[in-house]
């Protein structure tokens, strides 16, 4: 059961979106998320919906698969919408005891709900179509200018990719330790929340010890292979923008332009 957890949830199909440079996808997602907060009209969301729909269609990731990702945040979604509906002051439509529903509340609740859904779908689309390796590579390159400010950009991206490599190994190890402890009478299943949390101690201690040992070994192996930080390193798979990527940037610009025109001049 524990091995079913996947991080990043990359959806392996071949599509235009999958083949884009990760930097385009990162920038595009960022711009898209910011754009969602720039306007306050339903027509704006219509434009965002059309754009998102087009990208989903191009990515060839099934819609059901994407929407399943929303399940994880459904509680958050209800809270946000609920708070907005009940707590926004304005023209009261319905009232019971201390609860009031206002016109403005309904409106802003709907906005927040749509925003959140678009935001989650948009950003998960990025992780569906980009392998974790590509993602860390893209991040390293995009954050490259911050190296001048002595930010450890290369080190952070190296840490991320090593963490990704060791997740399945440590999960397997957790499984093993769990079985070993269960064989000696440890009980991970029964009891209340506190008892359950306490029962994790004999699991976590050996896991941490082993993780440190692995880290030590890995550091030695990396040094033995001449690793000495990002200085003077070459890349086996350097990121290069192609025609496809420039077109994608053009599309994003087009989306922003359309959004601006439509929300500003056509239907305010």
């Amino acid at each position: 059961m524990i091995r079913d957890i996947t991080i990043g949830q990359y959806y392996p199909v071949d599509s235009v979106i999958h083949r884009l440079d990760p930097r385009v996808k990162l920038m595009g997602t960022l711009i898209y998320i910011i754009s969602l907060f720039l306007f306050k009209s339903f027509t704006g969301y219509l434009v965002a919906l059309v754009f998102l729909g087009a990208v989903i269609k191009l990515s060839r990731v099934p819609l059901g698969y994407i929407l399943r990702g929303l399940k994880a945040v459904i509680v958050l979604l209800f809270f946000t919408i609920g708070f907005n509906i009940f707590l926004t002051p304005g023209q009261v439509i319905w009232q019971a005891w201390v609860f009031k529903i206002t016109r403005e509340g309904l409106r802003s609740g709907a906005f927040m709900g749509i925003r959140l859904i678009f935001l989650i779908v948009g950003s998960s689309l990025m992780t569906f179509t980009t392998t974790p390796n590509h993602l860390t590579d893209g991040l390293e390159r995009l954050l490259g200018p911050f190296k001048r400010l002595h930010m450890p950009v290369h080190e952070v991206s190296m840490m991320m990719s090593i963490a990704l490599r060791f997740i399945p190994i440590l999960l397997e190890e957790t499984d093993k330790i769990m079985k070993a402890q269960s064989a000696r009478g440890a009980d991970f299943e029964s009891g209340g929340l506190i008892k359950k949390a306490k029962s994790l101690v004999p699991l976590l201690v050996p896991l941490f010890v082993s993780a440190f040992r692995r880290a030590n070994d890995l550091a030695m192996a990396m040094e033995a292979r001449c690793y000495r930080g990002g200085e003077g390193r070459t890349k086996m798979k350097p990121l290069k923008y192609g025609r496809r990527d420039y077109i994608a940037y053009g599309m994003i610009a087009l989306y922003l332009g359309a959004l601006f025109l439509i929300t500003r001049y056509l239907w305010k």
């Binding site: 974790p132 390796n133 990719s161 090593i162 990704l164 490599r165 399945p168 190994i169 692995r214 070994d217 890995l218 030695m220 192996a221 990396m222 040094e223 033995a224 292979r225 001449c226 690793y227 000495r228 003077g232 390193r233 070459t234 890349k235 086996m236 798979k237 350097p238």
Partner: protein, 282 residues
């Protein structure tokens, strides 16, 4: 001077108590002199705690000698400016295959070493292809290392070292965590690299079966080199090996026991065909 030379190499682990006072000193390596020629296949044998792994870590400048000197490719490991050249000359493969693979894709892991030493992109690809083919893992280049068997992972680790074009590969118990099949796979790969690519091999192990193909066997005990010679020379001294808590290969032991009972069989038989031939002569 050979590719790897040690003179009067001593390494001491200092044990400290909680206040940091010196409690005792463990001499892990004690006045070791070895000389490895280019292209040789050397096996270093020893029981647990014999100092063989500590010796191996000196050859890659992971540990610095307490006394004495180590030269790798003519460079003194104690001099800091030689460090990266030494690590490029003598590559090192470790025991646990999981803890030495860095990347999430086989080919990217093999490319890690060349990336670190600043090899241009096109040449990295060329080296990755060559090394993966040399260890017979080319068809797995796009796989995740997590899906490979232990022996395959260890071969990927060897390819990762090969891609740095070292003159010498030090393998520190590369088969200790593998099943018998994986063990055979790895040993076959090592021999191939030695014979076809002419890479100097220093294999640290405690499995006797793995050393019968070596050019020279060095036996360590208590930090000292206690025996040295061809596998045949070393394995003919069964009594002495037992004293150092090492087993000899089964057929060698059988031949030895038969000889002790009075059969005229020669010393130092290493393989089953050899033994059969010898028995047929009787």
């Amino acid at each position: 001077m050979g590719i790897v030379d040690t003179r009067k190499l001593v390494f001491e682990y200092i044990r400290r108590d909680e206040e940091g006072n010196v409690e005792g000193i463990n001499r892990a390596v004690d006045e070791v002199d070895i000389c490895v020629e280019k292209g040789e296949f050397i096996a270093v044998l020893g029981h647990n705690g014999s100092g063989k792994s500590t010796l191996a870590k000196h050859l890659n400048a992971i540990l610095m000698p307490t006394e004495g000197t180590v030269w790798v490719g003519g460079m003194d490991t104690a001099e800091e400016e030689n460090l990266w050249n030494i690590r490029q000359t003598a590559g090192m493969v470790f025991q646990n295959p999981d803890n030495q693979i860095i990347a999430n894709v086989v080919e990217e892991d093999v490319g890690f070493g060349p990336e670190n030493i600043g090899v241009p992109t096109e040449e990295i690809w060329q080296r990755v292809e060559e090394s993966l083919k040399a260890v017979g893992m080319y068809e797995y280049r796009a796989h995740s290392p997590n899906r490979l068997s232990g022996g395959q992972k260890q071969r990927v680790a060897i390819a990762g070292i090969m891609a740095m074009k070292p003159e010498c590969i030090v393998l520190d118990e590369p088969t200790a965590m593998l099943d018998p099949n994986g063990r055979k796979e790895v040993i076959r790969t090592i021999r191939q690299l030695n014979q076809q690519e002419n890479v100097t091999i220093i294999l640290i192990t405690h499995y006797m079966e793995e050393v019968i193909h070596a050019d020279r066997v060095i036996v360590m005990d208590g930090g000292r080199v206690v025996m040295q010679g061809t596998p045949r020379e070393v394995f003919s001294q069964v009594e002495l090996l037992k004293k150092y808590r090492l087993d000899v290969p089964q057929v060698t032991l059988l031949a030895y026991e038969l000889k002790k009972k009075g059969l005229p069989i020669r010393d130092g038989i290493l393989s089953i065909p050899e033994f059969v031939e010898e028995i047929a002569k009787l």
